[in-house]
Subunit: 125 residues, 2 copies
DNA sequence: GTCCTTGCAAATCATTTGCAGGCAC
DNA sequence: GTGCCTGCAAATGATTTGCAAGGAC
């Protein structure tokens, strides 16, 4: 059975408090602020654990590293190409609408998609 | 001024012949088939060169590595989560429509976006 | 006490950098 | 000959793995 460890509780709390997709580095820094100094291996394994449970979800902005955020209602992000600030975006029309068309034109059965926007935040414009 | 080298010509031809986004590894393999054995550093630098000229465009499926394809009309992809086969997708309605809404709700000025689909190809279903 | 968790060191993988030598023009 | 191109080795950064020790229940 799963165990309630310090790192686990702290990471869940960090994800809960931070609405922004976090890198492993971000997480380790925030754990330090909580007076926890786990090995990065532990953090990677805990990420995998929470991800497998579906509690967190991976996001990739093509930065060469993954980010993770608490799993919640389907949404997208816009990331500032200068300062990397991230904001959520919700599109009213769902892209899933195109499923039948994708099946027809490609033969693929779509399961999920990733849609991320890039731009300039208010400060960096 | 730019020079016409064997690797440069071969890579351009490879991108032209292959409609699918290629990894560095893919490119090196295909160069070998063309009896070229360049150092991977050379390939990375050539990718950067062609990318800076805008001749090729980077694509990221969250695989932990980048892919590149010949630059052409805006489109998206669907990748098979099992065998990694990739197919193009064109959506009639452009997502740029949401720009003004994004500006209003987030304060960000959107510049580009990445939209990739994941699913199962005909064989893997 | 059992077995999940953790730490540490080392390995793996994609990508980058510094520097010296090589080739296109 | 000049200046871009290339190779090689080593560095960097993210992520993974093996194994032995530690801690939750």
């Amino acid at each position: 059975m799963y165990k309630t460890t310090k790192v686990r509780s702290a990471m869940l709390e960090i994800f809960t408090r931070n609405p922004t997709p976090l890198t492993t580095r971000d997480i380790i820094l925030k754990l330090k602020q909580n007076h926890l100094n786990p090995n990065k291996t532990t953090v990677y394994r805990e990420i995998e654990f929470l991800n497998n449970l579906g509690l967190i979800t991976g996001v990739d902005f093509g930065e060469g590293k993954k980010r993770y955020e608490l799993t919640r209602k389907h949404h997208h992000h816009i990331i500032c190409i200068k300062c990397k600030t991230i904001k959520d975006i919700s599109l009213e029309k769902d892209l899933g609408l195109d499923s039948s068309k994708i099946i027809k034109t490609t033969g693929f059965k779509p399961i999920s998609h990733s849609l991320e926007f890039f731009g300039l935040c208010k400060n960096c414009q």
